[in-house]
Symmetry: C2
Subunit: 341 residues, 2 copies
Amino acid sequence: MEPRSGRPAVMADVATLAGVSHQTVSRVLNDHPYVREETRAKVLAAMAELGYRRNLTARALARRQSDTIGVIAFDTTLHGPASTLFSLEQAARAAGFEVHVVTVPDPEPQAFADAVDRLVAQSVCGVVVLAPQRAAVQVMAGLPVDLPAVAVEGGAAPGVPSVVVDQLDGALQATRHLIELGHTEIAHVRGREDWIEADARLDGWRQAVTAAGLTVREPLAGDWSARSGYDAGLALHAQWPEVTAVFVANDQMALGLIRALAEAGIDVPGDVSVVGFDDIAEAGYLRPPLTTVHQDFAEVGRRCVDVMVERIAATERWTRGQPVVVPSRLVVRASTAPVRR
Amino acid sequence: MEPRSGRPAVMADVATLAGVSHQTVSRVLNDHPYVREETRAKVLAAMAELGYRRNLTARALARRQSDTIGVIAFDTTLHGPASTLFSLEQAARAAGFEVHVVTVPDPEPQAFADAVDRLVAQSVCGVVVLAPQRAAVQVMAGLPVDLPAVAVEGGAAPGVPSVVVDQLDGALQATRHLIELGHTEIAHVRGREDWIEADARLDGWRQAVTAAGLTVREPLAGDWSARSGYDAGLALHAQWPEVTAVFVANDQMALGLIRALAEAGIDVPGDVSVVGFDDIAEAGYLRPPLTTVHQDFAEVGRRCVDVMVERIAATERWTRGQPVVVPSRLVVRASTAPVRR
DNA sequence: GCACCCTGTGTGAGCGCTCACAGAAGGTAG
DNA sequence: CTACCTTCTGTGAGCGCTCACACAGGGTGC
């Protein structure tokens, strides 16, 4: 089946068997229009007979381009990045690209730089940075200028397009929902210090609270983990017993906070209403089912590929400043209720 | 800084600048022992000056090997696969390998075959199959014979080494824990039908229950989702009110089940004890904190790379039948309690 | 008749690297 | 002195593909 004694067949083998030149084989492979139907059939038959597989490494070398999108991600264990990555990969494949993911264990500039180096060495034709931290912004700025890049949830580095979920609007919706329920003492548990999303959610909460003329309290610290939400719940109970509603920057923390309140004998939503953010798969099955802000990560992944493909095709540098914004949506479940008089 | 007018520097440029041959540059790059220290320094200086980056595509073509490990995964959104992948990637990098992940949206044989094709086309030097479904076993069997492969949580295909978490033992520990608490009516909510892990956990439960001489009920159906756990909780309440303990095949379902029981006025662990599996990050902060079986996915990822590196280095085919087993560990929290008399 | 296009095919030269080999310089052994 | 090993360096030929180009044959226009 394979002429060169065991070694996989290459283009030259196919060409010989089909009685054409290697270039014609290449044309068939690349759907070049100027190939006679008869010739194409012969080549295809030869390929099938030899079990030929195109060597993408050689192709990438010759073309000096690999049809691969590089992705730099921070913690792919988290719900958001994992979901985005998942849909991004499918979308990229549909668009004819491979995806090469590099995870960076710690958000240090040096580690990011190494990741970029590794991707460049692989001749990726574009880089998606899926690292929603401040530190990532610097990296974007340090990217080779001729390498198409897209930031996801990242800060807008000059010259780099971005795809973001409308965090601010999500936070506004969440907080307004609490205000509409009559709450006047609304606390916030924020996300990790160095995360851009944490700031956007904080801002949304602050804007809504300010607009309603309510007290803007110092936000409680959090690091996205359930444990930090639990700690925040404890702190909340101790410091501000008058608070009747909390907007928590993600669902994991919300769940920890609810647990802390429950231990203190405070009922959610009876005594305190809680809104989360992310709409993790379990949100609807927690006790109580969590009112939260849904983020369409699948859409983020898809849009990301759209933008990247556009960037790769474009010849001029990207100059427009508008990020692609994916809307977020408040999902009202049972962790929020009208304020108790 | 770059001599060839804008184009990135290549090995020949470095060689010229350093006044040596391209081969000497290659030797420096590959840490060949026979290079004079002085020469090495000259080459290194030239590289730094030109901002040289080695082209891995060309290297892969010449070596006919890419130092890349391919991974075929099913749903990287799930906790287990995501965690495994994360640590696998770090471990692979530490061992000098790149990782190329291909996700397969549906567990169809054809899709798996395509994934393998894509990885082979990339000249990966090994494939890790991270698809714990039955369907994956067939794929393993269909892999090119000379391509090193490692199965994770997969069925043992002949000739393919595997790394698994000790699911059976975890299930045994969980069920015995319930038995030791005095429970005699112990139900099980199983995982997805086509998943190997679901069967292993089911077996563990069945063995423990049988060994204790207790009733082996028909396991309740589940698909890993919180929703299916909720449904199972409803069914449990309706069908078997006498049940006082449930071993649920994962934490998401456990949480859904607890919610269903709570709605029916059944207290966990007061009336019914519940044990989950996975030990997701939130497990300790649910209401009640979930007793569950911890799986060390990070270790799985690491061991996976170990085995793969060994396979790649080995010349003969792998014949031993013993999988690498990563132990699991029961974490007792507050969702289990002695049976109520 | 020549010029020109469109279609279909082949030729050769790379892409940037590694491999196998050759060879030079110096040391030690017989 | 020749032989031979060790250390260090250079030469040339690929790896399997695509690119730029050449060219053959046929149709159309004038």
